[in-house]
């Protein structure tokens, strides 16, 4: 599963969540605050996950563990 596909999939999921929160947050004195908070949360969480996933997709070095009898 070492492909870029999950990145794109999660991007679409996040975009969907952001659109949903932009549309479905009820009107009220806190609408702008809640909407902004949800949009930013989804975006930030996706970004962080995406970066971590992509950094480990094709790593250049491999982990070296000192053996038990080292």
């Amino acid at each position: 599963m070492a492909s870029i596909f999950p990145v794109i999939l999660m991007l679409l999921v996040t975009a969907g969540l952001m659109t949903a929160s932009a549309i479905f947050v009820p009107k009220g004195p806190n609408q702008v605050t809640i909407r902004t908070a949800l949009l930013l949360t989804f975006a930030a969480c996706y970004l962080m996950w995406m970066i971590t996933y992509m950094a480990q997709l094709h790593p250049i070095i491999s982990p070296i563990k000192a053996g038990k009898h080292a």
Binding site: M1, A2, I4, P6, K27, G28, P29, N30, Q31, V32, T33, T36, A37, L40, T41, A44, C45, L47, M48, W49, I51, T52, Y53, M54, A55, Q56, L57, H58, P59, I60, I61, S62, P63, I64, K65, A66, G67, K68, H69, A70
Partner: protein, 832 residues
């Protein structure tokens, strides 16, 4: 505007309102508005001396009352045994509005003065009695000690004058009637002075006396064991009893003078032992009586204070409110016939209906029939900036306001900080365990909100309580980033299958990558590996740059709503677009390269993975050419040259466009024949002092004629700041990496130095194992909370805040507004 909801995106629209308030209802109207907390009043009498204002008399009376209330509070505070003060929410309210208001205030005034008079008189009598008691106690000591001196000296006398009897009493009874000529007392040839003096003065006293009397004296002194309390200062003083024997009137007079000058107190002691015994009895009796009286006075004073304590808080509240009301009334202007007060102030446009309702309510309460009239004015003055926050957004808005109050109707960075601030904090703090600890702390503070708000925490705990919602989000995001970093108290979680397998060999083993990738977060295979830090450093550094560039781009885009709202389309073309192109062509390109390099499988590629840092440096030093073997993609040289060219164009674009356009407008205005004010005409200015010419409005309005040189300088500074800032701010985001590395290492060191020693294969089998685990565990937990959560937490808080203030705000924030400070009674409850 009224049917739209308020938003935190910009500051609220404010209107300048004018109130016409009939004098009868003025006090109650201001009280209502104070309870509402929606109007900021302007001072309409700026040139009037505070002593000449209309309501100076009332304020003076309120000040007297405030002084009395403060006096009571001090007296209650000074009591050693705590006197209970009934808290405000438990006290019966005093009605200070309405027709009976004046009566209530008058009553309060008389009550306060009555109580003060009584308390003061009790205090003075207590002081007097204490002083007298002190004197009597000293006299008693003197009597007792001197008795000993006399007995001792008597003993000596029997050695010298053997014709002396044992008891001097019968001789004395006859002697003192006949010995008027013989000042010698009690068969002694010596006369004496007795009294008390402070212990510290004794050596000096002795020396002075020795010098003055040339050694012709005999002095004896002893300590008084118990100290004396000085009631006014509360200090303890230690005293000694002294008795000085000398011969001759002149010497005695000198001794008396010296003693008095050194602050000693002299007591008349009778040399006759019987008489002394009588005095002692008398003194003891009087002392007992005095102590009873003192005790009773103390009791009644305490009762008085307890009664005062019942109502003290409500008095303080009333006095503060009344003072604020009258100070506000002083800002108003009397109209011509002194029947109405005119007030001017700022209020949110949205709240004008509420204010009108409040005014009508005040009219009804006060029983008059003429309501105050509210009138909106049009003005060019800049209104105050008001962000309507609730208890959740208040903390975030405050920390962003500490950088500067946003300009009126500017985009509010506080709105976005609600999420970006805890998120950037969490990037630096990422640990599931630590995040849980601070989340739990925040949840506790939120659930106990009401109780903690009333309890009045100290200054430090109060700060933490004020930011409880910030801490809540910080904790939640920290748990998320902890899952991503796969770090819980320096251990990892194996939630999914790792992507690496380690073959079974002795000695060092290298992991082998399969097809599967760890789907969420950092692969646990890196934990405990020798080169784990190499990988995680590279990963975190690149992540910091990517997050930083995205945050800065976002902040830059916040310029657009400002330019659109303030109708400055020029700024979009002259400022925003070149800035965006400059930022993206260098650092946006870097981010894309980072992501691209991560997406290539280098094991299958023909070239070795190039270093991105060298690539960026080479892009500037050797534009257009890429060293063979270090290419990231085809056509790289050409693309980089184009991007460098774009960035290069942006600098003069940013530098020149706006000043040129302004200069062009100025030329057009000049060519049409208008002359700027303030240029030339110096001769006229001196003569006419504004009498014959219309003087321009205050400096911040009507600024068509700014100095062109200033504009150029401003733009130069702006350009240099932005371009250099791009580079330095991008590098500044590397603190996200640095702090998260420090946090992880600290956490690991703490574990290895504490719990790693007590956890072994046989910890849980022996009792010593359990005890060791318990003790070490307690220490580990304490260090975790204080060092890792509180200290590191504060550090990450500060750095995340700095990133918002400097890196993000410099891209869009204008600032320069002034905060909306309405007349509000809500704040005074918390102040003591």
């Amino acid at each position: 505007m009224a049917d739209e909801y308020p938003s935190l995106f910009r500051s609220e629209q404010m209107s300048l309102v004018q109130l016409f308030v009939p004098t009868e209802v003025a006090h109650d109207a201001v009280a209502e508005l104070g309870e509402l907390g929606n109007v900021q009043f302007k001072d309409l009498n700026p040139n009037v001396n505070p002593f000449q204002r209309s309501f100076v008399g009332e304020i003076r009376r309120i000040d007297e009352m405030a002084r009395r209330v403060r006096f009571f509070a001090e007296q209650i505070e000074k009591e050693k045994d705590v006197i209970p003060i009934r808290p405000l929410y438990d006290s019966a309210p005093l009605i200070t509005v309405g027709p009976r208001a004046a009566h209530t205030i008058d009553e309060l005034d008389t009550t306060l003065s009555e109580r003060e008079r009584r308390l003061v008189s009790m205090n003075t009598s207590y002081d007097d009695l204490s002083k007298r008691a002190k004197e009597l106690i000293e006299a008693r000591y003197v009597l007792r000690e001197t008795a000993q001196f006399f007995e001792k000296a008597q003993g000596h006398q029997t050695d010298i004058r053997t014709s002396f009897d044992d008891s001097s009493a019968p001789l004395l009874q006859h002697d003192d009637r006949e010995s008027a000529y013989a000042p010698a007392s009690g068969g002694f040839d010596l006369e004496f002075v007795a009294g008390t003096i402070e212990r510290s003065r004794v050596p000096t006293f002795e020396r002075v006396l020795w010098r003055v009397l040339r050694g012709n004296l005999y002095m004896n002194h002893t300590d008084i064991t118990e100290p004396f309390m000085d009631s006014s200062t509360g200090q303890e003083t230690w005293k000694n009893v002294f008795i000085i024997f000398a011969h001759g009137d002149a010497l005695l007079a000198k001794i008396r003078k010296v003693a008095v000058s050194m602050g000693a107190e002299l007591y008349p002691i009778d040399p006759n032992a019987d008489k002394r015994a009588e005095s002692l009895k008398e003194v003891t009796e009087r002392l007992e009586d005095l102590e009873t009286v003192l005790y009773n006075t103390g009791l009644s004073r305490r009762e008085e204070l307890i009664r005062i304590g019942e109502s003290l808080r409500s008095w303080q509240d009333v006095v503060k409110k009344e003072k604020m009301i009258y100070e506000t009334l002083n800002l108003f202007n009397y109209d011509v016939r002194r029947k109405t007060l005119i007030a001017e102030g700022w209020a949110p446009t949205r709240d004008i209906t509420t204010i009108q309702l409040a005014l009508r309510h005040a009219t009804e309460e006060s029983g008059t029939s003429v309501p105050p009239i509210l009138h909106e004015l049009r003005t060019h003055k800049t209104p105050p900036t008001f962000h309507r926050t609730n208890k959740f957004t208040e903390g975030f808005q405050t920390i962003m306001d500490s950088y500067g109050i946003a300009a009126y109707e500017e985009v509010n960075p506080g709105l976005f900080a609600v999420i970006t601030f805890p998120f950037l904090f969490a990037v630096m703090f990422g640990d599931i365990g630590h995040g849980t600890i601070i989340l739990v702390a925040a949840i506790y503070m939120i659930l106990a909100e009401r109780r903690l708000a009333k309890a009045g925490l100290g200054e430090i705990m109060g700060q933490f309580f004020y930011g409880r919602y910030i801490i809540l989000l910080m904790g939640a995001f920290s748990i998320y980033t902890g899952l991503i970093y796969n770090d819980i108290f320096s251990k990892t979680l194996h939630l999914f299958h790792s992507g690496w397998t380690f073959p079974e060999t002795n000695g060092t083993v290298v992991g082998e990558l399969g097809e599967h990738r760890y789907p969420f977060g950092l692969d646990p295979a890196w934990h405990g590996s020798d080169n784990g830090l190499v990988f995680s450093n590279s990963y975190k550094m690149k992540m910091s740059i990517v997050l930083g560039v995205i945050h800065m781009t976002f902040a830059l885009c916040l310029q657009l709503p400002n330019h659109i709202r303030f109708k400055r389309p020029v700024d979009i073309y002259a400022n925003f677009i070149p800035q965006m192109i400059f930022l993206q062509s260098i650092f946006g390109y870097l981010v894309i390269c980072i992501l691209y390099k991560w997406s290539i499988d280098w094991s299958k590629s023909s070239t070795a993975p190039p270093s991105l840092l060298n690539m960026l440096i080479a892009m500037f030093l050797e534009p257009g050419s890429v060293k063979p073997g270090t290419q990231l993609y085809r056509g790289q040289g050409f693309v980089q040259a184009v991007l460098l060219g774009l960035a290069g164009i942006c600098v003069p674009w940013l530098l020149i466009t706006k000043p040129y356009l302004i200069w062009r407008d100025m030329k057009r205005v000049h060519s049409q024949g208008y002359v700027g004010l303030g240029h030339g005409d110096d001769a006229l200015e001196g003569e006419e002092e504004g009498n014959g010419r219309a003087i321009a409005e205050a400096a911040h309005e009507g600024e068509e004629q700014h100095d062109f040189g200033e504009v150029v300088i401003h733009q130069v500074i702006h350009t240099i700041e932005f371009c250099l800032g791009c580079i330095s701010h991008t590098a500044s985001y590397l603190r996200l990496w640095a702090l998260s590395l420090a946090h992880a290492q600290l956490s690991e060191v703490l574990w290895n130095m504490t719990l790693a020693f007590v956890l072994g294969p046989d910890t849980f089998s022996s009792i010593f194992g359990w005890i060791g685990l318990l003790l070490m565990g307690a220490f580990w937990f304490a260090a975790t909370v204080f060092i890792l959560c509180i200290m590191e937490g504060l550090s990450a808080f500060l750095h995340a805040l700095r990133l918002h203030w400097v890196e993000a705000n410099s891209k869009h924030f204008e600032g320069g507004g002034y905060a909306f400070t309405p007349l509000s009674f809500a704040g005074i409850d918390s102040k003591e």
